[in-house]
């Protein structure tokens, strides 16, 4: 929190006032996206911060895990914030917002219910943009070692001597 504020020089009130998202993600500055309560923050260099906020929401709607904080999704998509991919992302987000408007919403981020956002996504499921984002998330999200414990997965085990004396057969409810 303090770090974010000192970076942006904003109070929490200003930060909330300038945020455009109803979801968990806020655009907080010219090149800045922050999580709800600003527990994390991410600078953007090539992609517009509003577009990055939309992309993060889209990522969560594709692979929604309520016990995963936003920063995991931000990490999963931050690789697109490069000169090479920015145009494709901007075009894709523009198409996503257009699809949202086609269903009577102001834009994608302003849709309140996940169900309604998913309906927009379903309509563009076959597009190259959707498939690129979805495909990238499979490793971008689930291959973050920090998310593994949140699913119970224990990862590397050799350095601890395997599970031979650490519960390979400890199931007790059968």
């Amino acid at each position: 929190m303090t770090e974010t504020l000192s970076k942006t020089g904003m109070t929490r009130r200003e930060l909330l006032a300038r945020s455009v998202a109803v979801g968990a993600t806020f655009v907080v500055g010219a090149d800045f996206v922050a999580g709800n309560g600003a527990a994390w923050a991410m600078e953007t260099t090539a992609v517009k911060p509003e577009s990055m906020a939309t992309l993060i929401q889209m990522a969560r709607d594709i692979y929604p895990h309520d016990h995963l904080a936003d920063h995991f999704y931000a990490t999963a998509v931050k690789g697109y914030d490069t000169a090479d991919s920015s145009q494709e992302i901007e075009d894709g987000i523009a198409a996503l917002d257009a699809a949202a408007r086609g269903k009577g919403h102001a834009d994608y981020l302003s849709i309140g219910w996940e169900r309604d956002r998913v309906e927009v996504l379903r309509g563009m499921e076959e597009s190259a943009f959707f498939q690129k984002i979805r495909g990238g998330l499979v490793t971008g999200l689930y291959n973050q070692k920090e998310v593994w414990p949140l699913f119970g997965y224990e990862g590397e085990s050799y350095s601890q001597g395997g599970y031979v004396s650490r519960g390979f057969d400890d199931i007790n409810w059968l």
Partner: protein, 523 residues
């Protein structure tokens, strides 16, 4: 001590590939005093290099050269550039294999006779049978140290196995145990016993599981008769005017090409690369590729009827702990057409880590139906189906002249569509697998589609008659007496069993034959 042979030494046997087939053949020949140069496209990686991390290990060791796919299998849609999961390294796919080591059942050697003609299938009997293979299987089981053979005990059951076993017994299955695994269990052998680390698919860091990388290859090198050249990719087999092969052209790690002369060439690059090499070696004399007078090179590609069943329970299973595949139900492996298909299937325990589960549970899936499954990852159990698929002439490896590999050679295209018998078998297996887990209280089950092929078979098949296949009962090509095939591409039919024990048994037998023929001056 390690041998070094001259490029112009035409007294050597050249082996292409050092996996289950090539690695075993190389060691067996070297033990018999035959001089061998084994050329391996991949590098050397030993247990200290292996990574307890699914994607890192995949990136470290997999064959990632350009490949394309076609046909109606789902792999062509979801993993279009990755038809198969194969290792490129000294030791080949025996680094990533799980170790399940089963003999064919006697009837499976004679599929055409025992199943009869099946529409659309190119069934054929093997020119060998269970009696012929029994002593070679004995040797293979000793070499691999297979549990539940000889006097070796089985592995202990892990959490995933215990769920699987309880479900199997509840359904009345009788042949249920922790498998016949090429995994060390006791402190009495050359290999460290299994520490239940759970990364069998990533390479066993303890060396408990058999792999040619750290058994066959060093043992062969120690004889002074075997030279393994790693990062040496064979691109063409050469022949003379009499139609006998004379050597191979390969690219070294820097891309420089060399010609290694040979008195005999044995191809063991796994079922996609082996026929590709024969096709890419086409010449004026053999315009359709080497050893292809039958037109069968590249055809009858088989990958087993596979699929997985994962299920979620209301309490933790932690299936990833311990051996990846030590659990089996064999009751459905019989041939019993009353189930609606010929041939049979095995059910084996299987677990994937979270990263692979996300990629393979339901490729392309998204949204809450997908993520609510992964949310229960800790409470999941899993099994794999492996059953006999039908050889079909149209399932085949061809050269794709539009896509080139790093040497400018046409990439292989892998075309596969299920036969109706395959579909019927898979559906039956899904149903049984789901019933097993329901019997233990599963709250949700997932019939997961096949992954990129791990069992690749049949594209240079063995046949009695030269018109029906590519090699004879010794793996010697019908057309060229000093050209042999030594890997899973020899398989006439796939049987229900994981193939590697049979590949190894065939390689031991082939080494015996080649050594005898060479010393008798017949080749």
């Amino acid at each position: 001590m390690v041998a070094k042979f001259d490029l112009n030494d035409d007294s050597v046997v050249v082996i292409v590939g050092t996996g289950a087939g090539g690695g075993v053949l190389a060691n067996e020949l070297a033990q018999k005093g035959v001089k061998v140069v084994a050329l391996e496209a991949g590098g050397r990686h030993l247990p200290e290099d292996y990574l307890n991390d699914e994607w890192d290990a995949f990136g470290q060791l997999s064959w990632l050269d350009a490949r394309t796919t076609s046909g109606d299998w789902r792999v062509a849609k979801d993993f279009s550039g990755l038809p198969a999961w194969i290792v490129k390294a000294v030791g080949g796919t025996t680094i990533h294999w799980a170790g399940a080591s089963l003999r064919f059942q006697p009837h499976e050697w004679k599929a055409l006779t025992n199943y009869g003609r099946v529409d659309g299938a190119n069934l054929l009997d093997w020119p060998i049978d269970a009696d012929e293979m029994a002593p070679w299987y004995d040797q293979a089981e000793e070499k691999l140290g297979v549990t539940r053979t000889g006097n070796r005990p089985g592995l202990p059951g892990n959490n995933n196995y215990k769920v699987f076993e309880k479900g199997a017994l509840a359904l009345g299955y009788k042949e249920v145990h922790t498998g016949r695994m090429a995994i060390q269990t006791r402190d009495d052998g050359d290999r460290t016993p299994c520490q239940q680390t759970g990364f069998c698919f990533q390479g066993c860091k303890w060396g408990a599981k058999w792999s040619a990388a750290y058994t066959e290859i060093p043992a062969g090198e120690a004889t002074g008769n075997l030279e393994v050249r790693d990062r040496s990719h064979v691109i063409k087999i050469e022949h003379d005017d009499s139609g006998k092969v004379t050597g191979v052209v390969y690219a070294d790690k820097d891309g420089n090409q060399h010609l290694q002369k040979a008195r005999l060439v044995a191809v063991a690059g796994n079922t996609i690369e082996s026929p590709r090499l024969l096709l890419n070696s086409a010449s004026n004399m053999f315009p359709d590729g080497l050893a292809n007078s039958s037109g069968q090179v590249g055809r009858n590609y088989m990958r087993h009827v596979t699929g997985s069943v994962y299920a979620v329970f209301d309490k933790p299973v932690r299936m990833w702990r311990g051996t990846t595949m030590a659990g089996i139900v064999q009751d459905e492996a019989r041939h019993d057409p009353s189930r609606g298909f010929v041939g049979g299937y095995e059910l084996e325990t299987l677990s994937l880590g979270l990263p692979f589960m996300a990629a393979f549970l339901d490729p392309g899936g998204w949204g809450r139906s997908f993520t609510s499954a992964l949310d229960q990852y800790e409470n999941m159990a899993g099994m794999w189906i492996v059953g006999e698929d039908m050889p079909q002439e149209t399932n085949r490896i061809t050269l794709n002249s539009e896509v080139k590999d790093q040497y400018g050679l046409p990439a292989p295209n892998v075309h596969f569509s299920d036969h109706p018998n395959d579909v019927a078998m898979r559906d039956h297996a899904y149903k049984q697998g789901i019933e097993m887990y329901k019997a233990v209280g599963a709250t949700r089950a997932f019939p997961t589609p096949p992954y990129p092929s791990t069992h690749n078979l049949g594209t240079n098949r063995m046949s009695e008659n030269a018109r029906d296949g590519v090699v004879n009962k010794w793996g010697q090509t019908h057309d060229i007496p000093n050209l042999f095939i030594s890997d899973g591409s020899q398989f006439t039919t796939g049987a229900a069993e994981n193939p590697t024990l049979t590949i190894v048994a065939l390689a031991i037998r082939q080494a015996d034959h080649i050594a005898k023929e060479l010393s008798a001056g017949n080749i």
